[in-house]
Amino acid sequence: MKLLNELSKRGKNKFDIEDDINSEIEMLDDKYLRDDVNIPDVSEIELIRHFISLSKDNYGVDNGFYPLGSCTMKYNPKINEDIAKREELKYFHPLTSIEYSQGLLKIMWEIEEFLKSLTGMDAFTLQPAAGAHGEYTGLRIMWEYFNEKGEKRNKVILPDSSHGTNPASSSMLGLDVIEIESKEGMVDPEKLIEVVDENTFALMLTNPNTLGFFEKDILKISKILKSKGALLYYDGANLNGFVGIARPGDMGFDAVHLNLHKTFSTPHGGGGPGSGPVGVKEFLKDYLPYPVIENSDDFYYFSKPAKSIGKVRSFFGNFSVILKAYLYIKELGFEGLKEVSQIAVLNANYIKEKLKKYYPSQFDRLVKHECILSGKIYKEYGVKTLDIAKRIMDYGFHPPTIYFPHIVDEALMIEPTETENKETLDNFIEAMIKISDEIKNNPEIVKNAPITTKIQRPDELRANKELKVKW
């Protein structure tokens, strides 16, 4: 594939636009003006072919099974895409007077109500642009709360299975991170007690956690934190594991974020945009970033909470992403969402049961939305999990997440989601078993994978060394 600049030749592009002003206009002082604009000059047909061709070098859920663990790569309903692309949204300016935006405010207000119902939290902000942004916002709200109370707590506790954004978000607030070792893949209340003290700001917990386990001691955990005045933060990236079955708000969590681009089916777009709404319990409500949406007598308007942390971004949130999640919830309703987690969990356990003897990890228990397997037994053949992942491509699937969570050696983190049918799972299982056979009989096949992709095993070290980040 050529790069756009390699296709460029001055004069190819014929873009035009009408100028209906025929008056003389004072020109800007030369010193501000650029000489030329140096961006690719290609024709429209080349542009289309270029990007269509690029798209064909990419794999999405629309192309096949995408069991990337912790990413909840479910089907993205086309109706929701269509609605979010409505003409009106093209010209719906965020500073539009609210008389004109009652409908959109209603949508935002209602989805907050839905999310409150689903999580058991008391108030929501839709502003965060992604999960990590939600984490920051949630922690920031907690920070403001402690700050107001005059408490200087600076210890954030994380299980060793936590997602990288959890410690990184904590750092952004200048908080210190303490990692505690898991026991059987879950938080060990004994260990937790040892580290929780008056200096503890919060425990951040993903539940189901990144191993796919429900944190069985969640109520104990919550008590331990509360006993020291610390708070409990819920990383809701894995809500697909029990949405409609249980609620973080009932487990003692004080603040939560959700990834609408996971549980609520909005597409991931090759790395965003997403949306990471944050929900809090009543006592944190006044700290929410402004504006919040209020409703009196079916008139919707914005307001600023009394002790608001301020703003965490421009405007009010990733509206068109929020809209898609809103539509999804309205399409499914309560029973539908419950079925989502039931089948997601069914699928994950099915894969685990069928593959655990081929890719055993140190754990074998009931999982929720995802299951962790391991390629460690194949080390003796000189095969790494990375090789297995690459070989999976040759069978037509996207590989699972690998080498995460760190506490599982040679981890394969498989999240099928509820939108994959039994046949797909069976095909995947069959492929995984074949790969295990290949490793035993002819490991070179696996070490040389992939062979069906256009490019194979890029040299990442070279990229890091040369740092060629533009043409």
Partner: protein, 442 residues
Amino acid sequence: MKFIPHTQKEIEEMMRDIGISSLDDLFKDIPDEVKIKEKLNLPTPLSELGIKNEIENIFSSDIPPKRIFLGGGAYYHFIPSTVNYILNRGEFYTSYTPYQPELSQGILQALFEFQSVLSDLTGADVTNASMYDGATSLVEAIFMAERIKNKKRLLVANSLNPEYQEVIKTYLKPRNIEIEYIDFREDGRVDLDKLKDKSKNDFSSLVIQSPNYFGIIEDIEDINKIVKEKDALLILSILEVLSLGMLKPPFELGVDILTGEAQSFGLPLSFGGPYLGIIQTRKEFIREIPGRIVGETVDRNGKRCFVMTLRTREQDIRREKAKSNICTNNSLNAIASLVYLTTVGPEGLKKIANLNYKKAHYFKQRLTNEGFNLTFSGPFFNEIAVNLPFSYDILKEKLSIVGIEGGFPLRYYGMDNSYLFAVTEMNSREDIELLICALKEG
């Protein structure tokens, strides 16, 4: 609607294979106390037709007029059909972050091209693969500058978009970084004397916006001189990136970190998001830039290809030591802006930018002809503040009669009768006349 593809029979087979007798068994590790016992208060499920009809109702009422003179960080611009055509490709929009380069060359090459085009446009060495929005990328730039210069003091031009000022405050408060504001002059530009004054004490960086919140173009070189004397970094925030079609490449003027909101490049207004944050810098600071960067390399057969690079800056590798917590960013919108820029091309970008300039200045001419005063006298691009002899409510009423949205009040600055208007290629000459008419009226 339901997106579950299983037949009932398959579900039963699977349950049997797992060894459970009901789906409830899958959740037996969840304590009963926290299980949902009653039906939650959620709407009854709708079919595809049902949801379409509901949304139709929402969108058939209360829709704003299409004559939009609002700016202030989001601009109504033309979006060519190519953009949506490409974004509609499932291969792009239903994919995840390109962790597996073999299956993600499409996204990776497009992001590399995005980085390259944006770098070329501003003169930067490095552009990352996107940020959430203009405001959060500005915060990341401030953190970057602090990591580089390590001074606990930040200068911010008061002509920076007030929302952005608020975001900075929120993020800096827990970090004990002192913020000082540099006022603007009568012409709407940074007061260089005051800047000199405030820059006597050490600071990591100065943040300016240009065109600034009032639409005024700053004298970046002059500002930069003062900043560089103190060995601090100059951070430029651009909210109307279309101005780059006309104005000098900022990195040629001494800017160290550029952040921006690139919504103007092919993204719909969408009531505020998702937009597209950009962050750029010089080569020397590449290791401090947050977020994803795509780099060129070769595969095992020597074929050119692209991968995410410098990954050790990121949260999934470095956890609490990462340069930022950002993970999901805005890849698809970055591709949208790439398609936009490629569709309009170099001449088109200049044309559109010049047309914006021209229309805004025509509006200014008409205003001054009619005896209205601009709030500031500095040079501007496509946005201006106008003093009007009536309140915001009255303005809104006047405009709603003619089906116009525009005129955002500068309340933040206590300038209650000054209103911000943006004029773009989407505003016809007739629209402008209509607006003038409405302002003159009664």
